[in-house]
C-alpha cells in the first residue's frame, strides 16, 4: 500500500497479488445477458461509448473491489445515463421500486 503510485485506479490489476483462478466458466445469468445486450445496443447507437463505461467503472474506487463484474458494469451504466441526462435519479428510484414490486409479487 505504501508503494502504490498515485492515481492507480482499482481496475489496474496487472501484476497485483492475487490468488488461484476459478477456471470454471460460470456463464451468465439471464439478466446479465440482457444487460450486456443493452450496453451493446447503446454502443452501436453511439449513445454510450465503451471508453466512458470503462472510466465510470474505474471511478468506483474501493467499491470496485466489492462488486462482481456485472455489478460494476451496471453501476457504470447508471453513472453515464445520469451524466447524460437520459434518466434522472428520481425516475430510476421509482422504476426500481416498481420492478422490485413485480418480482416480489411472483
Amino acid at each position: 500500500m505504501s508503494d502504490r503510485p498515485l492515481n492507480k485506479g482499482p481496475h489496474d490489476l496487472g501484476g497485483t497479488a492475487a490468488g488461484p483462478i476459478d477456471t470454471t466458466d460460470h456463464g451468465m445469468k439471464f439478466w446479465e445477458k440482457q444487460a450486456n445486450a443493452l450496453r451493446s445496443t447503446l454502443g452501436l447507437k453511439k449513445i454510450v461509448r465503451v471508453d466512458e463505461l470503462r472510466r465510470a467503472a474505474e471511478d468506483l474506487g474501493d467499491q470496485y473491489y466489492k462488486l462482481a463484474y456485472f455489478e460494476r458494469t451496471t453501476m457504470a451504466l447508471r453513472t453515464l445515463l445520469l451524466e447524460k441526462g437520459l434518466i434522472t435519479e428520481a425516475e430510476l428510484k421509482a422504476k426500481m421500486a416498481e420492478v422490485r414490486g413485480r418480482f416480489d409479487a411472483k
Binding site: D12, I21, T23, D25, G27, F30, N36, Y65, F70, V99
Partner: protein, 225 residues
C-alpha cells in the same frame, strides 16, 4: 422474455456432441435466485430507456440472440479455415479483420490480430484493465477471463496460470502474453494436433474450443492421451 432463454437453452442441447457442454460458448448461468439490487437496477434502466424510445425491446432481444447464437461459433470456423488453407492462414495473420470479412464474418468495430502458436512460441491473451475480448468472434468472455485473479496474475506469472488450466509448457517454448489494452483484439491460432490430417473443417472447428483460442489450453484430438 423467458421464452427467449428457453430457445437459447434448446439451441445448446441441439449442438451437444460428445462433450458435457458446449466448449465454444459460455455455459448457461447458474441457478437464478431472487433478483439482486443490480439486476433490478439494470432492468429498471432498460425499461426507462425503452419507454423513452432510446432503445426498443426488440433491439435488445435481437442483440441477445446474436451473442448467444452467432458470435460464439465464428472463431473456431475461422481458425479451422486457417488450419486447412495456408494462404488464408497467411492473410489472417497479416490482417485478421480483413480475413474474417472474406469469410463473411463481420467483426463490427473489432480490430483483430491473430497470433500463431508454433513449436517455439505459445500465446495467451488477457485484458488486465477490464475485459476486452473479441466478442464478435468468440462471444462473451468466460468468467475466469474477467476475474481479478486472472487479470492480475497472467501477465506476471503466465506459466503458473497456464498450469492451473492444465497447460504445461517447457522452458524452451517462449510464452508470449498479450495485454489487449487499447484498440486491438486478439485470437490465438493454436498448433493443429497430430492425427487430424484428414479431418473436415467442421471436425477441426469442434476441437478449437474457446479456451484454445484465448491460449489457456491447447486443442486435443480425441483419442490422444
Amino acid at each position: 422474455m423467458s421464452a427467449m432463454s428457453d430457445t437459447a437453452f434448446d439451441y445448446y442441447s441441439h449442438r451437444k456432441h460428445d462433450h458435457e457442454h458446449d466448449d465454444h460458448a459460455p455455459v448457461a448461468g447458474e441457478a437464478e435466485g431472487p433478483p439482486s439490487d443490480y439486476e433490478i437496477m439494470s432492468r429498471a434502466m432498460q425499461e426507462l430507456l425503452e419507454a423513452k424510445g432510446v432503445v426498443t425491446a426488440e433491439e435488445i432481444r435481437r442483440r441477445m440472440e446474436i451473442f448467444e447464437e452467432e458470435f460464439p461459433y465464428r472463431g473456431s470456423r475461422v481458425i479451422a479455415r486457417a488450419w486447412t488453407d495456408p494462404a488464408f492462414r497467411a492473410r489472417l495473420l497479416e490482417d485478421g479483420k480483413a480475413a474474417c470479412a472474406e469469410m463473411g464474418v463481420e467483426l463490427e468495430a473489432t480490430r483483430l490480430i491473430a497470433v500463431e502458436n508454433t513449436p517455439d512460441v505459445h500465446n495467451v491473451i488477457v485484458c488486465t484493465l477490464c475485459s476486452c475480448y473479441p466478442r464478435e468472434l468468440l462471444g462473451m468472455p468466460p468468467t475466469w477471463y474477467k476475474s481479478d485473479n486472472y487479470r492480475a496474475r497472467v501477465v506476471r506469472e503466465p506459466r503458473s496460470v497456464l498450469k492451473e488450466f492444465g497447460t504445461v509448457l517447457p522452458d524452451n517454448v517462449t510464452v508470449r502474453v498479450h495485454d489487449s489494452n487499447a484498440d486491438m483484439r486478439y485470437v490465438v491460432v493454436p498448433i493443429r494436433p497430430q492425427g487430424t490430417k484428414d479431418w473436415s473443417e467442421e471436425q477441426l472447428a469442434e476441437i478449437l474450443t474457446r479456451d484454445t483460442l484465448v491460449g489457456v489450453t491447447v486443442p486435443q484430438a480425441p483419442g490422444k492421451a
